[in-house]
């Protein structure tokens, strides 16, 4: 049994799915920007929220998912600046940063795999993946 199940993230009115087998890779990318300790600290005490770290961590997820933006007529991977402005800029929902921290927390949350000698077959793994929970990041 994998330590992670599929997770769904919304951005800009669109839903994206991170498969369970990809989540660990995404966590490592997020941790290049903001560590699990920092995410947990911000979740427990919103006064410790670091806007740029949250934006960079969330941007790492969006880039992994292939989210792009248009800059000077060119389509490029979404930048942390854009994520920052959307989350914290003028007109942004006041809850946006906390929602982002919640999504980051949900992303890193594994479940303890049982020490099993036999791995479930592919069909069983697919079935379990389809039951995965969903976290909505739409704002």
């Amino acid at each position: 049994m994998s330590a992670f199940s599929d997770i769904s993230i919304g951005w800009d009115g669109k839903d994206y799915v991170i498969e369970g087998r990809q989540r660990f890779r995404v966590i490592c990318l997020v941790e290049e920007e903001v560590t699990i300790g920092e995410i947990a600290g911000m979740a427990m005490d919103p006064a410790r929220l670091k806007a740029t770290s949250v934006a960079k961590g969330f941007c790492a997820i969006l880039r992994f998912l292939g989210v792009t933006e248009v800059q000077g007529g060119k389509t490029v991977p979404i930048t942390a600046e854009t994520v920052f402005v959307r989350m914290f800029g003028e007109g942004a929902d006041g809850d946006g940063p906390l929602v982002a921290v919640t999504i980051l927390l949900a992303l890193i949350q594994p479940h303890l795999p049982e020490p099993t000698a036999v791995r479930p077959n592919r069909a069983a793994r697919r079935k379990s993946a389809s039951k995965a929970g969903r976290v909505d990041g739409n704002r």
Partner: protein, 194 residues
């Protein structure tokens, strides 16, 4: 830990042992994922994912069948597992430290992207033909450091080693500064008496 002991630690209810002649291999696996300088630089900002990946590589090298994400989940959710992983990585790193009696790298400029510890040892020992690759991987880290020491005798300044000469020079400088302070005090006292 003795000079020629391997390391052993608990993981997932089992004892995992790395014999002394496999320590360098285990360290190399660790450094493939997470170079020691990067691990040391993390400080309070430890990246749990990367450390889990590195520890999983060591566990696999030691014969365990485990995935990085499982190590991640276990160490994140279970404090005891986290402590065991921390102790294992610390023991592995300590096993490779050079003996304390000699200081190296004095006055050298830091390299921009220095190689890992095991890679440096390999380059020095195998690259210089001091031992074959097979013999290198069968060495304990302490033996590897002894070989490096034996093959790179310290620079001598007269009958003193470079380190001893440096110590002597520093002591002389301190003594000189103390004498200067004392003579300054004496001049000031004479001036005030006059």
């Amino acid at each position: 830990m003795g000079l020629f002991d391997g390391i052993s630690f608990r993981w997932d209810g089992r004892t995992v042992a790395i014999p002394p002649d496999r320590l360098l291999g285990a360290l190399a696996r660790l450094e493939e994922v997470l170079p020691l300088r990067e691990l040391a630089a993390m400080g309070d900002r430890a990246r749990h994912g990367k450390v889990s990946e590195a520890f999983a590589a060591v566990l696999c090298f030691a014969g365990a069948d485990v995935e990085a994400e499982t190590v991640f989940a276990r160490t994140l959710l279970d404090g005891e597992a986290r402590a065991q992983a921390h102790a294992a990585i610390t023991a592995l790193i300590q096993s490779a430290q050079p003996p304390p009696r000699r200081r190296d790298g004095h006055g050298e400029a830091p390299q921009e992207n220095p190689p890992g510890l095991v890679e440096s040892l390999y380059r020095a020992i195998v690259g210089n033909g001091w031992a074959t690759a097979g013999a290198f991987w069968a060495m304990t880290p302490r033996e590897a450091w002894w070989l490096v020491e034996a093959r790179t005798p310290p620079k001598m300044v007269g009958h003193l080693t470079e380190d001893d000469a440096e110590d002597l020079y520093q002591k002389m400088k301190e003594h000189r500064a103390e004498l200067d302070r004392e003579s300054g005090r004496t001049r000031a006292e004479k001036g005030s008496a006059a």
